[in-house]
């Protein structure tokens, strides 16, 4: 490539970049995103992916990610609410697990204190049984639960998390007493997966991505997805298709600090709105296997409230919250 053409290309690229940024002021934004979990988890990945997309697309001048680990995200939440008050440049990543953790840990600070911005992704959960299991369909499993809820041993993630909630709602929809389910929590997907493969439990719940490889290799049989619609590339029917009116997704969202002004809220929402439309974000969703579930504004605020009520109901039913 000659010098002249390369100059022309740079100029062209710069022009395109400028054209793609209608609010030049936005690019001046310096954001701080708190991931209320350790490096490597889903919330950390979401925060770092936002950082990648926001800076990559030039939507923010700098994005700093801070990890505040502990207690299902409630430590990060408490710290965020206490230190970021009124600060329009800070975001916190959260998700359905935090909703449950706030209740089970009796956390002093709840999600009613933050300013909702947007839901980013929602990954379907999958209900699986070991290859050798007698249960061929969701109806078989539902019948077994109806007969003796305690004898169906579930393996899944931490107590009170999305997996546990799905197991409880499934039992309810099957017409069994959800307070009697025998749910065994495992820390991290690995150990639960081993319990499934080893045939130590009846059924397992996890994010579809975590079990995908085992499902495709035939070692686990996927009975149903918990999402409203089927997942591209997966030949697994949803619960609703099979007559079970249950829907639980592992959603991740961002919220802003308490007491920010309407303008600050609008600016943050605008940045996130733009971020999810960038090619960088699309690429990240594809690489990570995340399902897009973008919802901002009042829609998300209503969703968050509804989800908090629903989770509280389920956790009361299974006896985790009194």
């Amino acid at each position: 490539m000659s010098f002249r053409t390369s100059v022309r290309r740079v100029a062209l690229a710069a022009g395109l970049a400028l054209a793609a940024m209608p609010g030049a002021a936005l690019a001046q934004m310096e954001l701080k995103i708190t991931a209320p979990a350790g490096p490597g988890g889903g919330w950390d990945a979401a925060a770092r992916s936002m950082q990648q997309a926001l800076t990559g697309a030039g939507l923010a001048r700098s994005v700093q990610v801070t990890n505040v680990t502990g207690a299902g995200g409630t430590i990060g939440l408490a710290q965020f609410v206490n230190t970021a008050r009124g600060d329009g440049s800070q975001l916190l990543v959260n998700g359905i697990t935090m909703v449950g953790a706030i209740l089970t840990n009796k956390a002093p600070v709840g999600l009613d204190r933050v300013t909702p911005i947007a839901r980013l992704t929602a990954d379907p959960l999958v209900i699986v049984v070991p290859k050798a299991s007698p249960h061929q369909t969701v109806q078989d499993l539902a019948a077994a639960i109806r007969a003796e809820p305690g004898k169906v041993v579930w393996a899944g993630g931490s107590a009170g998390g999305a997996d546990h909630i799905l197991a409880a709602l499934f039992a309810q929809a099957a017409g069994a007493d959800a307070s009697k389910i025998n749910y065994i929590p495992f820390s991290g997907g690995g150990e639960a997966l081993a319990a499934m493969l080893g045939g130590h439990v009846t059924a397992g719940v996890s994010g579809y991505g975590e079990f995908e490889s085992q499902i495709k290799s035939g070692r686990l049989r996927a009975l149903a997805l918990s999402s409203p619609e089927r997942l591209a590339g997966a030949e697994v029917p949803t619960l609703k298709e099979q007559g079970m009116n249950v829907e639980v997704v592992n959603w991740r969202a961002v919220v802003a600090a308490p007491d920010i002004s309407a303008e600050q809220k609008q600016a943050l929402t605008a940045v996130v709105d733009k971020m999810v439309k960038t090619p960088q974000w699309t690429e990240i969703l594809k690489a990570r296997g995340w399902s897009d579930a973008y919802l901002s504004g009042d829609g998300f605020a209503a969703f968050l409230t509804a989800e908090r009520e629903r989770v509280a109901d389920v956790l009361r039913t299974v006896g985790l919250v009194k």
Partner: protein
């Protein structure tokens, strides 16, 4: 078998390309550095590097991650031996004998046996990984909660090896650890226990905070308290810096035994790196011809656990590669690394991307050799650290410990806990209570509890499940033998003495 070797040599062709060699070198350098710094583990390093390597070629960055993982395992033992501050829980046992050796001027041989033992164990375990991965994994996933519980019982029995002179003091220390293990969320019901409304306690007590507090801070306080009376002479080097013929003779069997313990247990989905180090220490203490030296700096007590620790690291990669099962924090992040490239580790990976899998396995051999070449010359440099005047050295250790704790968990509560544990460690040293059993209690207690309760929940409360599988029965029988044999022998000896 022949196909395996063909595939492995193909892997070496990939691992030995200049670019991949460079990635491996960067990885082991970074890994050693973070292993030496307490608080920044390999998991955090890999997590921070993930976004940076996003654009790199998958083979190169996975090779680098493997280098970081192995390097971190190597580096962790250095601080354990030199300044009695285990950077991670798996090198806690190394500190027991290793630091004694360092204080007696034998830091050189201690570091060398750790480095060579890690190399030997890493190589054996990587061979095991290459040859037996698919078969062993089938056995590993067959392990149910009852089997794990039996393994924990065996580990508990071996704890007595770390008790020192008085079993009563040892038990006291162990039960303190078990009590601390109760703090935090009960994993089975999600309810908080003994947290007294302090949110930082909800996740339980961080093992490294307890270990660094008891070992390093407690020791610094102890040294400070004694300075007015008499100064313990710290000898940087006494005798050879290098391992003597005697050291080699006493090290090679522990290396092999440690590898044999570490690899299979590391391959278990809930095995971990700590339990094999406990078992290895107990085995070496039983088998040694120099029982009087244990607790005073026995080289076997460094060689065995270090080999076990490193062999378990290779073991961890087995369920990751063959099943996509991450069984440690670092493995979980490496899994995220695979997924970042749209790869799903699991049975299909060996078929879909053999170049990547075998390139990675071959690069583990390369990383191992690099670490040995890198670390042996450093032994002389590290040992010189002990020549720093005591007040400076211990001040440095205090700063280092506090920094490491804050790096893991930036919270004033964590720092306060470090201080409290330091004072506790000082008191225990003052009144002659062993420290290691307390940390073992904190590690094993919650694991054993969760596995026991899971086993009972799965069997709907039927306790016979605990002896329901052959593996559990064998492990429990081993535990019974380990517990009763010394008593029987002692009784027999007394009986014979009475007859004379």
């Amino acid at each position: 078998m022949i196909e395996t070797f063909a595939a492995l040599s193909q892997g070496f062709l990939i691992a030995l390309t200049p670019a991949n060699l460079l990635f491996a070198l960067v990885g082991v350098l970074l890994g050693t550095a973070v292993g030496v710094l307490p608080g920044i583990g390999p998991a955090l390093t890999v997590a921070l590097l993930l976004p940076v390597t996003f654009k790199l070629d998958p083979a190169g960055s996975l090779i680098m991650f493997a280098g970081i993982y192995y390097g971190g395992m190597y580096g962790g033992s250095t601080t354990s031996i030199l300044i009695n501050a285990p950077g991670e829980s798996a090198s806690m046992i190394t500190a027991l004998e290793g630091n004694r050796m360092a204080k007696a001027g034998r830091g050189g041989p201690a570091l060398a046996t750790a480095a060579i033992g890690s190399f030997v164990a890493g190589t054996i375990a990587t061979v095991g990984l290459a040859l037996f991965a698919p078969q062993l994994v089938e056995v590993a996933i067959g392990f149910g909660p009852a089997d794990y519980f039996a393994l924990m019982v065996l580990a508990f029995v071996t704890v007595s090896a770390t008790f020192g002179a008085s079993p009563l003091r040892g038990m006291t220390s162990l039960f303190l650890g078990l009590f601390l293990g109760l703090v935090g969320i009960d994993s089975l019901t999600g309810q908080t226990r003994l947290t007294f409304g302090v949110p930082e306690l909800v996740d339980g007590i961080e093992i490294t905070t307890l270990a660094v507090g008891l070992f390093a801070v407690g020791e610094a306080l102890h040294v400070a308290s004694r300075r007015l009376h008499a100064t313990d002479e710290l000898v940087p080097v006494r005798g050879s810096l290098w391992m003597s013929r005697e050291d080699w003779r006493r090290s090679w069997k522990p290396w092999l035994r440690g590898s044999l313990l570490g690899f299979p247990i590391g391959a278990l989905p809930a095995g971990g790196a700590e339990i094999p180090t406990f078992l290895s220490y107990a085995v070496e203490r039983r088998l040694t011809k120099h029982p009087d030296q244990f607790g005073q700096g026995a080289i076997e007590g460094v060689a065995g656990p270090e080999a076990a620790n490193n062999a378990s690291a290779a073991g961890t990669l087995m369920p990751l590669l063959t099943l996509g099962l991450p069984t440690s924090a670092t493995a979980a992040i490496m899994l995220a690394g695979f997924q970042q490239y749209g790869l799903n580790p699991g049975p299909l990976l060996f078929v879909e991307r053999p170049d990547l899998v075998w390139g990675l396995i071959a690069s583990l051999f390369v990383a191992n050799a690099m670490l040995l070449v890198l670390n042996l010359p450093l032994v002389g440099l590290w040992v010189r650290m002990l020549a720093i005047p005591q007040p400076w050295l211990y001040a440095g250790i205090l700063v280092f410990s506090a920094m490491g704790t804050v790096a893991t968990n930036p919270s004033p509560v964590e720092l306060a806990m470090l201080l409290v544990f330091g004072l506790l460690g000082f008191g225990m040293r003052r009144f002659d209570y062993p420290i290691a059993p307390m940390i073992v209690g904190l590690i094993l207690g919650p694991l054993a509890e969760a596995q026991l309760r899971r086993a009972l929940a799965m069997s709907l409360g039927d306790p016979t499940v605990l002896v329901g599988s052959p593996v559990a029965v064998v492990l429990l029988a081993l535990a019974a033998v380990a517990l009763l044999a010394p008593l029987l022998f002692r009784g027999l000896a007394r009986f014979q003495a009475a007859e004379d």
